[in-house]
Amino acid sequence: MELKFYIESGIIESFVLGLASDEEVAELQHMRKLYPELDTEVEFVERRLERAAFDEPAMPPVEIRDRVLQKIRWEQGHAYSDPSSNYTFINIQPKDGDHITVHRWWKVFFIIFFIMSKVFLFLAIFYYLKYRLSQEQRSDNLHQMIRQEQTQSPLL
């Protein structure tokens, strides 16, 4: 009778919803040891709440599922990697066929490659302009020399 009164007090519902105080939870756990039938009652309440929630589900957006599952795949990839290896990888998205996994050093390599390509491009433009300038100066000098020769030749 006392147990029935205890169950009817709503303590199990309070525990299931996370509203029971620490003392109430400790008391419930103690009572569950004394009366194992309370375990069945906890399960009944949880199943009722589960049925109620399943009656009105709202599916989260697909991208949420992708985010959660991507994390699982990523962790799985790590779990099966060689733990003794010193390599560090940037895991982009393994095992879906559209993405690749590359070594961290590729990132450094591409940054250096990008910077060097810019430096070489700058030098190429710089020396091209310098070359054109020297060509123009040379042609100006040549024209000057020809003009000088032409101005001197009538005197001869």
């Binding site: 519902e13 299931v16 996370g18 949880e46 009722r48 709440l49 009105e56 599922r65």
Partner: protein
Amino acid sequence: MLIERLVIGDPAAKELLYDRYAGALYGIVLQLVPVKERADEVIVKVFFWAFHHIAAFQTSGHRTLFAWLLRKTREFAIKEALPETALTGKELMKQEEGVLQQFYMILPADQQQVFRLSYFKGLSITTIARLLALPEEQINDILKDAMKSFRQFLKETWN
């Protein structure tokens, strides 16, 4: 069994856990956090947490994975919830639907107030007592009455 497979880290079991419970939990989250982006974040956090702490289920005192997940969902949802003053009304999606909201609507005014502050806002009995300028014992009694009503509500509707 699903729990054993989860404990050993079986990825297919993790997928199954998500597919089985994400919809039901999301329905509850939208009652607690009526902002879609924040509700999405709660679901991601709950499942990441569950995958890493599945061994704790055995000692949690819960008998079903759903109840265990729901408890953590509420904890994360309360952390993600915006203060009511920050809500514009446009983001409210499932405020009038769902099992918890339906139950809330049938409660008398005093139980509604205490249940809302306790379950939806995550406030302690002491804080609620201070907010409502009532003795803690009275708040405790009101919450107990609400839990009795919740027991009846569940038994009558989903027995």
